[in-house]
Symmetry: D2
Subunit: 329 residues, 4 copies
């Protein structure tokens, strides 16, 4: 871990971060970006599983007006994935206009506004399929040489993403394991997921938005306890089980980067990211607030969110909501 | 108009923009910020009209999975309210990480991400109650001296805003008047609203999200035709009728700044803004994409959006959706 | 001109600006990036002409403590080369800390600071050799594929630039032509330069910093009169004469982009830029304030400036000074 | 120290940073902002000591063309005063234009540029008199209520600062004390300065730019060893001796914040800052690179720098140079 952190620290003093983050060429031959079953023009992968019928089905099961807010506040000084890890900019908000000081009685109209600047992967956010690729290509064989300009990708940007309305399922791994928070760097396994689902009495369905709870948001917003490179999260096998066997549409977790870090693969510092985004076309959501759902034992819900259509962006801040539904059982 | 533009141009060369934007002290004595009927701690005004029951009522009327996307793309070079008018920063997106150039075969993992910077009043967005005040105070008697720091307001920021789920109503004024786009600077009257509602066969209810269509998004995204200071929009009387008689919860329009500009009140360049936000506690949404609803003649719908919880911000970019409902008639 | 502006407007709505700014492949075969006479490691081109001896020679000729300030103010709303032309971000300054409002007597320490954000080509600034290249390469055969990462170039960045101390010469073309300001898009010729030098009684020497006055700063800071694509400036022949026959070390001008615009070469919108930077290794300075030198008829001086060492940047804001010297005649 | 760091960490999660940074009201009655001896319009304090004569005197003593570069590189990931201490934004540089990827032969012109964003107190920089005040006022009785708008101060901004040309003196405290680097938080005393000057054989003169060497740049750019709140630096008594008895014009040091931290005054976390800037009108420079001067034993020199004229800013990045001079003894 210390080695990784030292290496990371050196990395962001370097001009060519991207180059040095890449692994060695010994990666298994089979690991190439995926070709979309939805055709050569597809840019959103498994989000194609949604339809008017699937949306209507879940919306009509809503049986309460109680809303669970799954998004976090964005504020100066907030924990983030990438400022400490990669030297990326922190979230900032600065005023543009403010009521002038002095004798207020002279001023009728008091105008305030502000600008924000942020990594798109800040706060609760969705990762789009352009966020990670393999060998210079992203999902559906789109190469950086052809589709990446100075300001972003022409393909699979957040602007291509539809609003998401689907059944959401919470898998409360922390609770199933009887802990408040999973241990640092703990890697969630297929068995962990199955055990938690059994304990909850929940079963997954094709097209679900599957949200994994590690309990780490108990530490929110303590920066000293929420660091990307020591977080617990999804393991590669568990991700494969969710994507391939359970046919989840979207994944999510209550941590900074979905998967557990550090990676045990010396050639790939984020193997779950590249597997889901580049090989399987599965988008996912990070830094979700799942504490209220967990407290109330709400494991099934209508999941609703609308990514901002940031043209060419590899991610978008979102504030998803969960609404309780009638059980399908 | 030319005078206004010249004046504006001078304004943003000045250090103390806010001060000079303020009007003279001759404003009518009655125009003070409002005190909230929801108590001294209230920061969200009419959004208090929502309840579990109100949300459930509208969600249960959903009868289609077809979704109307009411948000616009955000992109470098997009039209905005305030860069030309006030010298505010434009929307920008810049890359943080990108697959390195050169021999791609050496690089397993292709990592891309980017930062955005923007005025919070960019793209489709909601204005919070702190955006405009009167005499140095905002809604509910909160003064800048007490509640505005170097980075924003402690009160009525976007972080205090709940997700919004309510009945939405489109009032298609452009269609009712038989034009594609209302004339430049046209001021919508109470009669215009009544006539359009009649023509549509729609009636308003307490707690509605009322969206006004001027047709200006027919010009999207042509910057030369979408300028704040020449836009058509809501007049003050029409705003009063909606807020006080119809008891709308939230307003919205398909233009850069809700109301018509320029203002005819020399003391207040945005009288509808200050009336709604500071006096009545009514939040509103700007730069809505209403073209699809208008095309399909959908005038009643479930309106769903989640402002980002930008701490202390006077606005938040959003991407609302509309979902068709069974008629209440 | 109108066509160019329209084209430009369309350009910055596109994701791949850089690609579309490029010309057609019919450019003359001879126009390739230059190889440095100072060796394969050279990144600064003609700045290698400076030596301890050359600096001492000019410093010892200083004969007055009077200073000419050749830099402009940077402020919100200032004219710039590239926000209108390319959709680039404008200069912004926003507060980070400010004395709190309210009862000032409670606050001993009043701390203020701010952040700036800007295109590095804003205000008075130097263009480094990485700013323009040909066919994907910059000066000294450095290719983007090898040396350009997600955050900038590894070669010829402003961090490699030495402080500049050399003889400066003002060529007051506007005065020689008897006008306050050269006409829009006027292209300065070799004859214009010779005539002005004769009129002034000045002769050029190898290693000079040669500053060309068009008079356009008479309009400073009127944005409506200072637009990149209609500016007067250096022509390609004049640039060649200065670089090749007069062996100038650095060039400069009192306009937004050194050369006259629009270019008459359909394949290259900035042929003087690519000639000087990519083919000849000559850096240059834009948006210089030459009015005081011109007013006082000071045509020879010690020129002193220190580019900020912005790692990998293609430009740096500077504030050069000129100090009167004893004539060399 | 730990307490201070904890307190600091809490601080930047708060909305009203400025308010909480302020001390208690028990500060001695005498500590008020100073009134300028150069009159009620003065905004630059002791920089008024410069004159054409003073500049010429020092420039004419230059006897070598060898230049000492006193500025540091600015780069993503660089150490800074204030991102860790206050949650301020880090230095960032991001590309605006870059040669398009793909078939390079199709692209004649290769255009690159970038934007930077930074706290103005980043890298080698000068602090202006508006940076710290007392009781809501800055130097010369200018109050925030009257002169501070939403975007900065109308008084004492960097735009008011002249280029600085004066005798510079290096006081190498680290060398005089026989250490590479002064211990963490070491406070430099008057005796330390006198001893070092004696050891060097240097004497101070009215109007000098006095640069203090602690040796901390031996750690450059190791972020883990260059933290504001544990740095060695000038003590208040030493600052008073330099300002009042030696009549220094400008001070400087090779650390992030001039003075030693943490402050021993519970009411003022930066007492040397407020003393020099607010009470005495003495500007100073931080993060100077003094290693080359120290290595060569150059203790007297012509000091030359030009602050960028950032309108209303409390600081400006600079890259000063030192040029050897004939001794005055």
């Amino acid at each position: 871990m210390q080695d990784l952190m030292n290496q990371t620290r050196k990395l962001f003093a370097a001009t060519h971060l991207a180059a040095t983050l890449a692994g060695s060429p010994v990666f298994a031959a089979g690991e190439q970006v995926g070709e979309s079953p939805w055709g050569p023009e597809d840019e959103i992968g498994t989000l194609n599983m949604m339809s008017d019928a699937s949306r209507l089905e879940i919306l009509q099961r809503i049986d309460a007006g109680r809303i669970y807010d799954l998004g976090v506040d964005l504020f100066v000084g907030m924990p983030d994935c990438c400022s400490a890890a990669f030297g990326d900019p922190t979230y900032q908000m600065m005023m543009l206009h403010a009521p002038a000081r002095g004798d207020g009685s002279k001023e009728l109209l008091s105008h305030s506004s502000e600008a924000i600047s942020m990594n798109t992967h800040t706060g609760t956010h969705i990762d789009t399929l352009s966020h990670f690729g393999l060998h210079g290509k992203i999902w559906n064989n789109v190469s950086a040489d052809e589709a990446q300009g100075a300001r972003g990708w022409a393909k699979s940007g957040a602007d291509k993403y539809p609003p998401i309305i689907a059944r959401g399922v919470l898998i409360d791994v922390a609770r199933a394991k009887g802990v408040d928070v999973l241990p640092a760097s703990y890697t969630i396994t297929v068995d962990d997921l199955k055990t938690a689902l059994d304990a909850q009495g929940t079963s997954l369905q094709e097209g679900d938005v599957v949200l994994i709870r590690t309990g780490q948001m108990q530490h929110w917003p303590d920066r000293s306890k929420l660091a990307l490179f020591s977080q617990s999260g999804l393991g590669l096998d568990a991700a494969k089980w969710l994507a391939e066997e359970q046919k989840a549409m979207v994944l999510g977790a209550d941590n900074l980067g979905l998967e557990s870090f550090p990676s045990t693969n010396p050639d790939n510092f984020a193997p779950v990211h590249s597997y889901l985004l580049a090989q399987k076309g599965v988008s996912f959501i990070e830094l979700l607030w799942l504490e209220d759902l967990a407290r109330d034992g709400v494991h099934e819900f209508a999941f609703i969110t609308s990514p901002l259509k940031l043209r060419g962006a590899t991610g978008s801040p979102i504030r998803p909501i969960a609404v309780p539904i009638r059980s399908s059982r």
